[in-house]
């Protein structure tokens, strides 16, 4: 585990130097919040500024865990970095575990910054325990999308992974209601996405201090699905990386 943490530390170091990370994971959510937080009155039974804070924190976590990783993993598999690591004493799963750990680490700043923005710019006042539940729910989202990134990054070559990642990115952002709240038929469909479920768990907690078991089961099921796909994708390349 020591070696895996060392690798995760190096991953965090690189990501911090990456402009793409800063733009997608931190700058974009902050910018969107400043622009759109006042564009509505309420959503999902809570004030719009509170909703948009949750949505943007989830958006940052989603981009940080998914966008960053899917393309990198695919590229690093092609470049042979994963092969090189297999020649070290690291256990076979260390690369993937380090990616997930580093994703969890790099989404913390974006969640914290958006929460601070919500509290002091958007005037969102919540009891401490609710802040904590929100952070944990959104942070768990990081885990889901990091698993998805592993599945996609291992499955597709660098040439095809870019468009696929963009489609997935837009799909879960729009149909999860990360940019604008969903209603009507779109919501009936969007309800099934993990991004929507994470936002709703958070807004429910803000609105009435509890949430539907359905959403919690929902994100656990998504996590299981993406984790399963990731394991299959990694195993499929076990001989050829």
């Amino acid at each position: 585990m020591e070696g895996t943490l060392l690798l995760a530390k190096a991953e965090v170091l690189r990501i911090r130097r990456n402009k793409r990370y800063l733009i997608f994971t931190v700058a974009l959510p902050v910018m969107f919040y400043l622009i759109f937080a006042s564009s509505g009155n309420s959503a999902y039974g809570v004030g719009f500024k509170a909703f948009y804070m949750v949505a943007m924190a989830s958006f940052g976590a989603f981009s940080g865990a998914f966008n960053n990783n899917a393309i990198r993993i695919s590229q690093e598999r092609k470049d042979g970095w994963i092969r090189q690591l297999r020649l070290t004493s690291l256990p076979a799963n260390a690369y993937v575990v380090a990616k997930i750990i580093s994703s969890l680490a790099i989404t913390v700043p974006s969640i914290v910054i958006v929460f601070l923005l919500g509290r002091f710019y958007g005037g969102v006042h919540l009891p401490i325990w609710e802040w904590i539940v929100l952070a944990v729910a959104i942070w768990f989202g990081t885990l889901i999308f990091a698993a998805l990134a592993v599945a996609v990054g291992y499955r597709f070559d660098p040439d095809s992974v870019q468009p696929i990642a963009i489609v997935i990115y837009f799909f879960f952002s729009i149909f999860g209601g990360l940019w604008f709240p969903l209603s009507g038929g779109l919501r009936k469909f969007g309800e099934f996405t993990p991004t929507y479920q994470i936002v709703r768990i958070s807004t429910d907690v803000i609105g009435h201090g509890s949430t539907s078991v359905g959403y919690v089961i929902g994100i656990l099921v998504w996590f299981a699905i993406f984790l399963g796909l990731a394991v299959l994708a990694v195993r499929a390349t076990a001989e050829a990386v």
């Binding site: 690189r14 042979g80 994963i82 004493s89 256990p91």
Partner: protein, 351 residues
């Protein structure tokens, strides 16, 4: 058919530590670091190893031993099975059949215990970090690390240690890869075409630092396309083609096996059947009155010509390089294979 296998009964490895320091259960030298000696059994052993990709035989019944402290070159044309063999040795691929042992255990455990340092052609580097950060990371993962500064110096990369990995030239990248192979106290070093993308000067520096590693008693196995390199750096050369071992011996032996002398002369009346029967003859080329012979024993061949009453003119005797020896060995193997396919199965091939 020639038998190229060369038994090296005269094998002696000296100066690689003291046998009493060698712990045969762990395989680690206690004081001399790499202290393995000729008496302590092979470092690596392939027993009838085959690897198929679908119906393609990449490696076909390969058996060989690597002895402690020895520098071995793996030579073969593209697609001969060099990389696949090294991949299997490094536990990156599993043999379809046969068995590989390294330091008395399986390759996976040998790799994970840090006893092998390797540089792959296909091995990539982590981008966005500096050379020093990368070497520090991989050193930190090694069970028996060398000081980072030592590695940087030995690999000749200290000068650009603070440059970013993704901003390096091909030759520099290659040296960083090499650094990752030697950043720990590994007993076996495996290098797949280490000097590809290096210029002549860098290549010379590379082999100089490699010699330091070997002088410490490490066992070295490298695959290369540069025959000159194999000739200069290796104690032993393994020639493989079509996944099979064709020749195994010192560079001098390999040259001799392939008929490593070239004899040429002019002869007025050429009697080809007679020439083909000459002792030591490996290959014969006749163009008008010019006779060119490849022979394993140029003296015997020439005497036989003279004894038969011929008086050839413009006699020239020269040595063949390893390159010609290598080409001769693999070409003969290819010819034998093509012949077998044609007569055996009416494969309809045209030559």
């Amino acid at each position: 058919m020639h038998q190229y296998g060369v038994a090296r009964s005269d094998q002696s490895v000296t100066g690689y530590g003291n046998p009493t320091d060698y712990d045969s259960t762990t395989g680690y030298g206690t004081t001399h670091g790499y202290g393995a000696t000729a008496g302590s059994g092979p470092v690596v052993s392939f027993e009838n190893v085959s690897k198929y990709y679908g119906s393609l035989k990449a490696v076909d019944g390969l058996s060989l031993d690597l002895r402690p402290g020895e520098t071995t070159a793996l030579l073969g044309p593209n697609g001969a099975g060099k990389s696949t063999s090294l991949d299997m040795l490094l536990a990156l691929r599993k043999p379809t059949s046969g068995k590989i042992t390294m330091f008395g255990s399986d390759p996976y455990h040998a790799v994970k215990s840090g006893r092998v340092g390797a540089m792959l052609q296909s091995g990539g580097l982590m981008p966005e970090v500096t050379v020093r950060e990368l070497v520090t990371l991989v050193t930190g993962l090694h069970p028996r690390p060398e000081p980072v500064e030592t590695t940087l110096k030995r690999a000749g990369i200290a000068k650009f240690a603070d440059q970013r990995v993704d901003k390096l030239s091909g030759g520099q990248t290659q040296r960083v890869r090499f650094a990752l192979a030697i950043c720990g106290k590994s007993e076996l070093i495996v290098l797949d075409e280490p000097t590809a993308a290096m210029d002549v000067e860098t290549r010379r520096l590379f082999w100089n630092s490699m010699k330091e590693e070997v002088a410490e008693g490490r066992t070295l196995l490298f695959a290369t396309h540069y025959l000159e390199e194999a000739d200069q750096a290796a104690d032993r050369i393994l020639v493989i083609n079509r996944g099979r071992l064709l020749a195994d011996g010192t560079p001098a032996e390999i040259k001799a096996r392939a008929g490593a002398k070239r004899l040429s002369f002019r002869l007025d009346k050429v009697d080809e059947p007679f020439l083909l029967g000459l002792p030591g003859l490996v290959n014969l080329e006749v163009r008008n009155d010019v006779v060119q012979i490849q022979t394993s024993d140029s003296d015997a061949t020439l005497y036989a010509v003279l004894d038969a009453g011929y008086r050839p003119t413009e006699i020239e005797v020269g040595s063949l390089g390893l390159e010609q020896a290598f080409i001769a060995i693999t070409a003969e193997d290819d010819a034998a294979n093509t012949g077998a396919a044609n007569t055996g199965a009416h494969a309809g091939e045209t030559i």
